[in-house]
């Protein structure tokens, strides 16, 4: 065996030793194909939350339009297909309203609040709280008692959260608005970026106005 072959064998062995280990490491703890709560960008998450929320509440999405129109149907602002409630609505009509509220909007709000509080981004937290309060109020308006305190904890194995009392939830929604106003009034260096805030282009005064409007609407509810 000449020296050239020996060198080749040594190099090849080194190659195997160095490069084969990576493929046997199967304990990758994060899904490389999607953003995780730890790795998400706070501005983009805010962006996604607002987008989710607007689609959810504005019936832009075909899936939940039917569920959201239900309110207008029942009071005959829209045509209700069938004279009786039982005929007009079918099991599953409200599934998407429910799904997009929790696994669309509220889970994003939860992740956004966690991320923002790690970096003291109080304005982000404030906006998240306004959206959370509005979503929660709407859910109570539709369904009465809904899960909140035990909700959104699927990662700890809580798959069937118990519902909270609806009056209690209205109070929580009011509290969230109060906290949101306080957070939005705090003077901080990094505020909302005008790009990631799709509603008011980073104008916290307008967010505070919205929070106060929602408060008055809740109080008169």
């Amino acid at each position: 065996m000449n020296i050239k072959n020996k060198i080749s064998i040594v190099l090849f062995t080194l190659f195997l030793v160095n490069f084969s280990c990576e493929t046997t490491d199967l304990n990758v703890n994060e899904n490389p194909n999607s953003a995780t709560p730890e790795s998400a960008d706070v501005d983009l998450l805010l962006n996604g939350t607002l987008l989710d929320f607007s689609k959810w509440v504005s019936e832009e999405d075909d899936d939940n339009r039917y569920g959201f129109e239900a309110g207008m149907r029942a009071v005959r602002m829209l045509h209700m297909y069938g004279p009786l409630y039982e005929n007009a609505f079918e099991p599953g009509d409200f599934d998407d309203v429910w799904r997009q509220a929790y696994s669309g909007v509220l889970i994003d709000v939860k992740n956004l609040k966690t991320l923002a509080s790690q970096n003291d981004l109080f304005h982000h937290i404030g906006v998240a709280q306004v959206i959370e309060s509005y979503t929660l109020t709407t859910l109570v308006d539709y369904f009465g008692d809904v899960p909140y305190s035990e909700g959104l904890q699927g990662d700890t194995g809580e798959f069937n959260p118990n519902v909270d009392d609806d009056q209690e939830l209205y109070n929580i929604a009011l509290g969230l608005l109060d906290e949101a106003i306080l957070n939005l009034e705090k003077p901080i260096s990094t505020s909302l970026s005008s790009v990631s805030d799709l509603f008011y282009s980073g104008d916290t005064d307008k967010w505070i106005t919205l929070a106060k409007t929602l408060k008055s609407s809740l109080i008169f509810n």
Binding site: S34, A40, D52, K55, S103, G104, G151
Partner: protein, 366 residues
């Protein structure tokens, strides 16, 4: 979250998602929860076969019975979105499949010029969900979350569920104060899409260079949700409903208190509102079909000797020329072999899918 990302394959070789995230990078609101406790599927199969040939190979017979037990099947379970996640992969219990296959091939008559042979196949199987770790029904696939194929313990795999009307103890529909049927709050079983048995009959008759082949298929049983048939019926566009739709009638049924229904509605309302309910869209999908017929002619060698070809056959072929779903309304001529869900495990749903095509062809083979 400590969820491990691993590459998984189920027993059919399809990749399985074991990891996930609850961050919505789009607006789908669909969040997959990783399941680090997932274990591999295990399939064990027992098969007994029998084969013999008689009368100088003029009669052949094959039969096999099998039992396939799939344990820890990996399926997606839907979660209550209020948990923050909508779906996770679980080891969803056991599936037991029992089946039988029988094949007969025979040459009833053969001489120098003429030959008739046929093949007759029969197969039947039954898949039952024998264990399911979740309460109630597990959504498997299908068009909507309230209309699709489900796994229910003790029931056939892919059982169809959808909206069902309220009925009293004797099975009479319950009507509301408007004379129309009332829906139940929860979805219920509407059918079993798996056929009881299938059969295929292939015939070949040849005389000198001519050969006539045909294949007949028969499917017995199995349910089909057909929006096509129902849409034509409830709108009065089918031959069966070509009557005056403004005549009054009283829908068969009872009130919630047990008194017989006495609310008059129009025939149009009865068809549109009552018979338009999901459970009335399900038909028995028994069907017979002429799958293929072909007539071919092979030129004899004496002629081909003068040409460069060693073999020359010309044939006319027709595919799917005739079918009849016997338990569908006659005027609709519906083909239950359509599937709106495309490729996948879902079965038994037609949501106004285009019909199957007939195909004619001529081929020349040298």
């Amino acid at each position: 979250m400590g969820v491990q990302a691993r590459a998984w394959l189920d027993s059919n070789g399809n990749p399985v998602n074991v990891n996930g995230s609850n961050v919505n990078i789009n607006d789908s609101g669909i969040n997959r929860l990783g399941n680090p406790d997932l274990t591999p599927e295990l399939v064990s199969e027992l098969e007994l076969g029998l084969e013999f040939k008689l009368l100088n190979n003029k009669l052949g017979f094959e039969a096999s019975v099998y039992k396939k037990d799939a344990k820890d099947q990996i399926l997606d379970q839907r979660l209550d979105p209020s948990a923050g996640y909508t779906v996770t992969a679980i080891n969803a219990g056991n599936l037991l499949t029992k089946g039988i296959e029988i094949g007969v091939n025979a040459i009833p008559y053969e001489n120098d010029n003429f030959r008739w042979d046929f093949i007759l196949n029969f197969d039947a199987y039954e898949s039952t969900v024998t264990k399911l770790p979740v309460d109630g029904a597990l959504f498997l696939s299908g068009p909507f979350s309230n209309l699709g194929n489900f796994a229910i313990e003790g029931q056939p795999f892919n059982t169809m569920m959808g909206q069902v009307i309220q009925r009293d103890d004797n099975g009479n529909p319950i009507v509301g104060t408007d004379g129309l049927y009332l829906l139940q709050d929860e979805i219920g079983v509407i059918g079993d899409p798996n056929p009881d048995w299938n059969s295929t009959f292939i015939n070949n008759i040849s005389y000198k260079g001519f050969k006539l082949s045909m294949q007949w298929d028969y499917t017995h049983g199995g349910d089909m949700y057909s929006a096509t048939a129902n849409t034509l019926l409830i709108r009065g566009l089918a031959g069966e409903t070509a009557f005056d739709r403004s005549i009054p009638l009283i829908a068969p049924g009872v009130f919630a208190n047990g008194n017989p229904n006495n609310i008059q509605i129009s025939a149009n309302d009865h068809y549109w509102e009552n018979l338009g309910n999901t459970e009335f869209k399900v038909y028995d999908a028994t069907s017979i079909r002429l799958r293929e017929i072909s007539l071919s002619y092979s030129f004899p060698e004496e002629i081909l000797n003068k040409t460069p070809f060693g073999n020359l056959t010309i044939s006319a072929i027709g595919n799917n020329l005739w079918f009849k779903a016997v338990n569908f309304p006659d005027s609709i001529n519906f083909d239950p072999s359509v599937n709106s869900e495309g490729v996948g495990n879902s079965r038994g749903f037609d949501l106004l899918t285009g019909p199957t095509a007939k195909r004619y062809g001529i081929s020349l083979r040298a």
